[in-house]
């Protein structure tokens, strides 16, 4: 494989570097060149973005009431002390 090319197999290992904006400019250029001609890898990058989005819907909004009460007891004990 010539040095100035990124294979699909290599690309999937550096997607996070790309999405996090932590890629040196020359690598970034290779990455984006690859995406320009490889719609499969475009799909792959979209899947990684979708993964992040799905994970973001999992945030627990409701705390177990028993746990919450045990934490609030700390406050009452502390205030009385």
């Amino acid at each position: 494989m010539p040095a100035q090319e990124l294979t699909c197999k290599e690309l999937v290992e550096v997607v996070t570097d790309y999405l996090e904006g932590r890629m040196p400019p020359d690598r970034r250029l290779l990455f984006e060149e690859h995406l320009a001609f490889c719609s499969w890898c475009v799909t792959y990058v979209e899947q990684m973005r979708a993964t992040i989005r799905v994970a973001g819907t999992l945030r627990e909004v409701d705390l177990d009431p028993a746990v919450r009460d045990s934490m609030l007891r700390i406050f009452r004990d502390w205030k009385e002390a």
Partner: protein
Amino acid sequence: MSPAEERLLRSLREGEEQAFAELVSTFTPALLRVARIYVRDRAVAEEVVQETWLSVLRGIDRFEGRASFRTWLFRILTNVAKTRAGREGRTVPFSALARQTEDEESPSVAPDRFSPATDRWGGHWASPPSQWDLPESRLLSSELRMRIGEAIESLPATQRTVISLRDVEGWSAEEVCNVLELSETNQRVLLHRARSKVRRELEDYFGKA
């Protein structure tokens, strides 16, 4: 610090239970998650979080707001958790745990999904990913969300924590590095591994091409 956070902390200093309750609801799920890296047992983790909140109450007058409240809070937590883990004979630092799991890692995508290196198209997709029919976030099925939740739960502790804080809780990379005392590179490697595995779970869910 956001104005809302400042107001909350002022109320807490004045001894308002409502302010404390609000902070508890906001931060306790993530505190428990991080505590469980250091102490495996759920009940012990809850004690660690209780002790953390007590330290917050005792120390709130000394908190000057130079770091964000969140960073300060989680620093207290990790100190409490490490002390507790130390007493129970588990003192492996997070970065060392991270290195351990790194050594055993497999590729992000199964190698047989790509053409062999000897091929003209070596290293390119042989079994390419297909587009998912993913609905808007609020329309995601509870089945799918549960599966992804389970996939995250089954990750090694270090990866689970990083993806939980970054992608579930929405923290910045910098905050995660600060709280977990990880290098930026280490954080990114763990995040990549975690996301890649969760993506595979989604791919299984939607069915391969």
